[in-house]
Amino acid sequence: MAYTEDHIALAAEYALGTLDADERAQVETMMAVDPAFADIVQAWAYRLGVLNQMVGTIEPRPVVWENIRAELARTAFAQEPPAQAEAAVPPPPPVPEAFAFDTAPTETSSAATPPTEPPPVESQPGEPPPSEAQPPETARPDDALPDIAPVFMPQVHAPDPDVVHAPPAPVVDNTNVIRLEGRVRRWRTVASAVGALAAALLVTLSLQIFRPDALPGALRPAPRIQTVEVKTPGTPLAASAQYVALLQGQGGGPAFILTIDGATRNFTVRKVGATPEPGKSFELWLISDKLPRPRSLGVIGAGEFTARPLLAGYDADLVSGATYAVTIEQAGGSPNGQPTSAPVFSGKLIETVPPAQPQAPAKK
């Protein structure tokens, strides 16, 4: 096995859970670029997972099932079951009723029947079919969120990009004003909170980007490329440097890797872990407190790489300090130049110095 003890220990500690947030992000990045390493981490997770046999069972409230059901009704067909996904032609859009679970699950085990049922989610019939072509601006599935899951209000105590998808306060009077407010709030949360997550960029990632042939199996404990976090938003882009942003979703792990060339300000988006559902496109946005609203950087192409020169029009401070986010839009992109849903992936730029630069290997 080509992995050092450091890598094994890192994988094991990830599974154990004792790594800090930055280190976890680091491992997730390594997993994303190196499937063999991902297998090692996974094996540890399963190896330790048997410990859960000793954990006592506790019944969750019935509302949890309601929320799962509502969430799946909204997104169930974002990912087709494998059998269908392999079909050459995308299957016809499933009707929403296909995911019509009834209230709480019936008890088939010996577990005690949960006490009172909350009223069934009333908006079920009215919600937009998950895979239907996007209706115009005013009726996005995202906007319908408060209707679908009004009972579930996660309490967010600290800005956490992982929960920005949480629905805003239940909206009874669904006026445009309120909906827009919710959307703005979500975007603001993303812009301010994403920095914390964006944190750890990995040596491995840079390696993957600059020397893809060096992976896998060539992971080294000593970094070959120094990575420097851009701590202060507004640090102008250095012409000699490369910048990288991992655009991560709530599930953890990067879905897109955005690289920007400091000299040309050309950017490239590499798709690593996401596929849009049929009839939808991923659209990239630049969010900055220097701009009144998110600016579209265009639709991300179907291929693995999408390269564009668009950033040349923006000033360097803005580019380096901005948050980059991806939303799901109708095929071809948002019709009005504004994001029509909350971002599903986002991240900030981190400067990476290419290996050509002389450097002392970082030792721990």
Binding site: L51, Q53, V55, I58, P60, V64, F152, P154, H157, G252
Partner: protein
Amino acid sequence: MLTPAELVGLIEAVAKGDQAAFERLYVATRAKLYGVVLRILRRQDLAEEVIQEAYVKIWNSAGQFNPALSSPITWMASIARNRAIDIVRKKSEVSIEEEPQAMEVAADSPDPLARREMTEELKRLLECIGRLEPDRQRLVLLAYYNGWSREQLAEKFSAPVNTVKTWLRRSMLDIRECLGL
């Protein structure tokens, strides 16, 4: 309680989009998964949120489940627990213990099972953990069951964080060696 083989069948059905199977899978496994994450998060709101996300992920990735690599419940619990750990690590500035809603979890580690209820894999792992020094055993189990960070462990064991870091690393490598990996 369904047998592992029955659960495998359900996950295979879920991978094909069988919603009834998904519901049965949920009913059969929710209390275990909730027990695992509530122990770590100690807050009902967060634990419920994690369970919701975990089952959505289970629905979406059922096709990736490989019964040769893990039991169904281990696979599912690992998805939920991983998410719970993500959340406690990202909330490090806000101590979960200080939250008014924080729940008490009395014991350091869960109740022991009768030996006959344990799978072979668990017996083997416990044997290897049992070969660690007593303090290290508790360290590993507290980390796993309670999702404690190095800082929390350092406080518990009155040791510097860096020492805990070394202990954890050494313990994991010792376990690996003991398991013959």
